[in-house]
Subunit: 273 residues, 2 copies
């Protein structure tokens, strides 16, 4: 896979905790935008005449009353942008959309206008989410359909344990920081090195099974002695679900071998009679 210099976007994880996002419009694309913003902790304001709401947008507004403020009116002008941290337009009216983009840009508020790529500070992409794990697929405007095909490939590659693993590693790091507090410096490097060693030595499936008692033992026996105990050493027991995953490649040939032997025996037995 080629590393390519230039021509790309900067893929980033934008922080929206306690921020305010304005969505202008209520149709299908607006409902996709609401869905995207609901994955964050932002406060959402939707501005759209009621008859412009599609069923999904209406459902979001009804189900998330504590997160979404809804104003049944067309976009009223510059005052709508007051206090907003991000603006998303999802309108059929391209001229209005462009004008909202310009107002937002003048106010230095990041803005995305559906269907007008050259007016956007940023694009959306296909997303995969599993707890703290988020994955984004961008084709840089070369086709949302392709992004979805790639998304399916990637989803198939994930075992489903990744989110849980990342949560547990985050908890372990937090507990380590309580034992060995401070920002940066030599201690910070030592913490990072030890965490990396644990993540390298253990399987993802093992990390996902860490409980409070195992974490304490891991820190007591491991961090304090500058070593990495095994999963079994801290009391880990193999999960029946993760049973012998490495043997699976041998199953096909084995079944084939037995079937081949049986068929041959049958043929030989039939010919003897």
């Amino acid at each position: 896979m080629a590393h390519t210099v230039g021509g790309g976007s900067l893929l980033i994880a934008w922080q929206l905790k306690d921020k305010r996002v304005l969505i202008v419009g209520g149709g299908e694309v607006a409902s996709q935008r609401i869905d995207s913003i609901l994955t964050t902790d932002a406060h959402i304001t939707v501005v759209s005449p009621h008859d412009g709401l599609n069923p999904r947008t209406r459902r979001f507004i009804n189900e998330h009353t504590h997160r979404i403020a809804y104003h049944d009116r067309p976009f009223a002008g510059l005052e709508e942008l007051q206090g907003m941290d991000m603006v998303l337009t999802a309108l059929d009216d391209v001229e209005l959309s462009r004008s909202i983009c310009n107002m937002s840009r003048n106010a230095r508020i990041p803005v995305n206008a559906a269907d007008i790529p050259d007016s956007c500070d940023f694009y959306f992409g296909s997303q995969i989410r599993d707890g703290p794990l988020q994955i984004m697929i961008s084709t840089n405007g070369n086709g949302p359909r392709m992004a979805n095909l790639v998304k399916k490939k990637l989803q198939n590659a994930l075992s489903g344990v990744e989110g849980q693993t990342i949560t547990k590693v985050g908890e372990l790091r937090a507990q380590l920081k309580i034992r060995a507090p401070g920002v940066g410096g030599e201690l910070g490097k030592k913490r990072m090195k030890w965490m990396t060693s644990v993540c390298n030595a253990w399987e993802m499936e093992e990390l996902a099974l860490l409980d409070d008692m195992m974490m304490h033992k891991l820190l007591d026996d491991g961090w304090e002695n500058d070593r990495v105990p095994t999963f079994a050493e801290v009391g880990g027991k193999a999960n029946p679900r993760s049973f012998n995953i490495t043997w699976f490649p041998a199953v096909g040939p084995t079944i084939g071998f037995v079937a081949g032997a049986l068929c041959t025996l049958l043929v030989v037995a039939a010919r003897r009679r």
Copy 2:
């Protein structure tokens, strides 16, 4: 895989074409930031005393003189932010880093401070790039090491043809827009529907092999008649590389079957003698 509401970041593809990015610092993290920004078309300014540059940062500055402006000095104050569209700090000095964050936020310039998550408008994540295809993996601050492990899983799931496929689909869409121009409306929907049908009907490996002649035939025979010709119909020839990929799962059992049959025959033959 659970869909999770709340608690996440908004993963977006930030547009930096012809924008200006300030990087304060010159160490290892600064070199990672330069690497990230070089994937875009932004102009980069690096501010750091020369003795604070690590070898990789120095190499980037020497190799990309047309993209990177380097100032051999410590951060000089608010005037450094003049005309900047994004600010990234990569400093050991946490206080200075925080103060640059505050200046940037007051000037409404998006800012990321390495190692100070609560001061960041956005985070970076692990990235995969293949031409127009970009993938980002974020663990929402729960461990860069885990992001890299997930990255490896995803890289293994990609065949390497995806970037080329997306490029060709983008070219096809561009040619279609020349034939059937205009933004939005019924025609826009018809274009999108036809493109989706083609992407669904063809294999990725086939789309990647589209050349100019095949694209013309696909548009002549397909778009004009509102149908989707097959790869072979527009003159496509199977790539030897993509040979019978769907047969691979049968190879193991088949080899097993033959081996089982042979072994049984040998045993039977040995017993007859």
